[in-house]
Amino acid sequence: MHVRPRLRHLAVLGLAGLVLAAVGVTAAQSKPFTSGHSTASTILDGTTDTVTNVDPAGNYDYGSGTVDILIYQHLLDLNAGSTVPAPSLATGCTHNATVTVWTCALKQGVKFSNGDPFTSDDVKWSFDRVNKIHDPSGIWGLISNLKSVTTNGPYSVSFHLGTAQSTWPYILATGAGEIVDHKVYPADKILANTDVTNLVGTGPYTLSKFTPGQSAVFTPNPNYNGANGKVANGGLIITYYSKSSTMKLALQKGEIDMAFRDFTPTEYTALGKASGIKVYKGKGVGIRYLVLNVKRAPTNNLAVRKAIAYLMPRQDIASRVYHGQVVPLYSMPPAGLPGHLNAFGEVYGMAPSVAKAKAVLAAAHVKTPVPLTLWWTPSHYGDASADEFSEMQRAFNASKLFKVTLKSAEWATYSKTLGTQYGAFQLGWFPDYPDAEDYITPFYGTKSNFTSNGYSNAKMDAVIKKEEAAKTPAARIAAIKQAQMIAAQDAPIIPYWQNTMLVVGRSNIQNLPKTIDLDYLMRFWLLSKS
């Protein structure tokens, strides 16, 4: 047996194999952070969000949006502390008498990070390509009302809409309105995430390196015009985590300076007690609600829906399940947004009432306990969803008016089914823009309701139309309030909590409270690191 030399040969072959495999693997496109770059003032952030595409024409998710607001600007932007779109790349926007044409005057002297000048051609190019690319992310849906964009010289553009839209300034501030360089971005396809040389914008940072699923590296943009506030740090690295527990350990260990979003309620509570770490909290615009199918028994009966509204244990869910990290919600538009009304509070009271629920069921001659199946998903709205629905089941069963069965389905199945098969089911909403309209139209319009719960009310449709064409903010707010009262009375959806914006930072990170507001945007450029 010549085992020894053969084993040696094998070992050598094995090592050679590894080296060959290593050399054979192609290199990812990368650009060093910048040689000699000081990392002392670079902020290290962690997140469980994911990035689908950096190119604004190819994403419609929060994780990608967080990256994009660092690289791109809009004609109008949502600046810190305000929910009203303010001039950014535009000096202002006005509409015609029918609110179907919006014209924006553009700032002069603005440059992209690659040095190209910003003009109206870039604006037209940016909007046209979103529609032309028609990306599967569905981002084009935000500007589906846009018929054409015309330029009026290099520094003025007009948006021609299909129907009147008073909220167009908000649309300009969404991901669909991010302005790209027409000399660099293709008209009919999106740029790859790793194409950092071409992913240029006018925003506070440039993307230096992007490794999908791992990290994004940003350096301050020397051509940034400062419209959204000065860059207060030397750069930013976002590390992507698939599990919040791993991110929590990294934060505790000091491997990252801060984390924006998301931890479980228990993890937030634990981090709040950790030394050298602070949890910052402000109002949020994410909401959770129970959809009731108005075409399926038992929720096709208005009395049953009203009884559920009377019994909803909002405060118990907020305090017991979420440790106070969410607050009870009594209307679809969350508290803090202009036009919000505690509609469900006014109609059903601010606290659960078994007596009133019993009365409404008795008046409608509904036999109790009413069998009710509540559907929820464990794989989309966080681990706490299970406790949330257990709390709901406990409260409803305790009233002896309902006999609740809980059922769950994995998100891919759940999201496809919704109102087509479920009678009562959990959903959450994060707005496209911080305006009450975005909490009304997608849920209550006969044609725009995406929940498939069968709700349709001509009076509601008329109010929505009135709101969309409103010429003054006051008229719009009046319509929004009217819609909320109709929604509460019909109760096809029961809102029950709104989130808070939670950011966790180590003590070396300053200015975090500056970016915590109802816009729910992480403006990293405002933060500094000591």
Binding site: V3, R6, L7, L10, V19, A21, A22, V23, V25, A27, A28, S30, P32, F33, T39, T42, L44, T50, V51, T52, Y60, P136, G138, A192, N193, S208, K209, T211, P212, G213, Q214, S215, V217, I237, T239, Y241, S242, K243, T246, M247, L249, A250, K253, E255, I256, H380, E410, W411, A412, T413, Y414, S415, K416, L418, T420, L427, F430, P442, S448, F450
Partner: protein
């Protein structure tokens, strides 16, 4: 050797020919399993905020409403052309995922395998040498416990003890954020990249990040080697040639380490190949626990998004690696031990 040559050649051809139907069956199974599961990438990403009409239109645009046999034909056609497709959720080429993230998995599993073999050899040899002693009992207990421990549980414990309590090692990722930002990627195997660049600071950082995940995965799979090597050492110590060596007055240490141990290693080569499949399975959990950006980590993410192309590509790569490894191990066995006949 002259008789072994032709039979080995015939065996090699047969083994390689069998790979084709095996891969075909695998491709079909993965394709069907993904389609049988309810939901699709469009509803997973847009459901809950886009109207059904929009979801339907996009599903149509991507061809998910076509009959399954048409989708299957298209899929096979792409594979034949060496095109694994593009992910739906983040528009990455599956080929690049396999190369980039596969490099991270290669790095992790390579070092985990080394740790598994080293731990297995040391503990197995000592246990076998001191059979039925307290040392042997300890070694066997260690082997059983580590093998029975779920890899994610051991990983979490390691993170807590060595990362948080003692503060010795990083708890996650392939390298620190700053190293990742500053490092030039040549191969995506950070260990190799740091050496290529002569960046010793980065190498130190990379090794520190590698220790916990590789050790966790390696120790768990070392349990198998412990038991195997112990049994083989005990068996070879009873062989006639060992008795003969002792009778010739050769030192006991030399008998054990030079004669018994080397021969006890031969069957381990076969098990190393078989263990690779388990190691890749364990890598999925290890990578998720340590946020290690390997193929297992990506599989976890893409499965949640029902990303057909990505899941199909990654699973097929895993399977091909296992098939290739088993063939290599068979050939290696024949190379090491010419007595092997097929």
């Amino acid at each position: 050797m002259s008789q072994t040559g032709p039979s080995l050649k015939r065996y090699a051809i047969t083994r390689l020919a069998l790979v084709v139907p095996m891969v075909f069956i695998l491709l079909t199974l993965v394709f069907l399993l993904m389609r049988v599961a309810p939901g699709n990438p469009v509803s997973a990403s847009l459901g809950g905020h886009a109207p059904p009409a929009v979801i339907k239109a996009i599903s149509h645009q991507l061809g998910y409403d076509k009959p399954i046999y048409e989708q299957y034909g298209h899929y096979l056609g792409q594979i034949v052309r060496g095109n694994f497709g593009t992910t739906i959720s983040d528009r990455r080429s599956v080929g690049s995922i396999i190369l980039v993230n596969g490099a991270a998995t290669l790095e992790l599993t390579f070092f985990a395998m080394i740790i598994a073999i080293v731990v297995g050899m040391l503990v197995g040899l000592v246990s076998g040498r001191f059979r039925d002693s307290p040392i042997d009992a300890g070694g066997r207990l260690f082997g059983i416990v580590v093998y029975a421990t779920p890899v994610f549980f051991l990983g979490l414990l390691a993170q807590l003890v060595f990362g948080i309590w003692l503060g010795w090692l990083p708890t996650s990722d392939q390298a620190s954020p700053v190293t990742q930002a500053l490092m030039q990627t040549h191969t995506n195997i950070y260990f190799v990249d740091a050496i290529i660049d002569g960046n010793w600071t980065a190498l130190k950082d990379v090794v520190e990040h590698l220790v916990l995940p590789a050790t966790t995965l390696g120790i768990v799979y070392g349990g198998v080697f412990i038991r195997l090597i112990r049994v083989n050492v005990i068996r070879t110590l009873k062989e006639d040639y060992i008795e003969a060596a002792r009778a010739r007055g050769i030192n006991e240490r030399a008998v054990v380490y030079h004669h018994a141990f080397r021969n006890a290693l031969v069957p381990v080569i076969t098990v190393v190949g078989l263990q690779l499949a388990l190691l890749l399975g364990g890598a999925i959990l290890t990578e998720t626990t340590f946020n290690w950006p390997g193929l297992g980590h990506e599989l976890y993410v893409y499965l949640q998004n029902r990303d057909y192309a990505a899941v199909q590509g990654i699973v097929v790569v895993f399977a091909l690696v296992v098939v290739a490894a088993s063939i290599v191990i068979d050939f290696a066995n024949a190379f090491i031990d010419p007595r092997v006949r097929y």
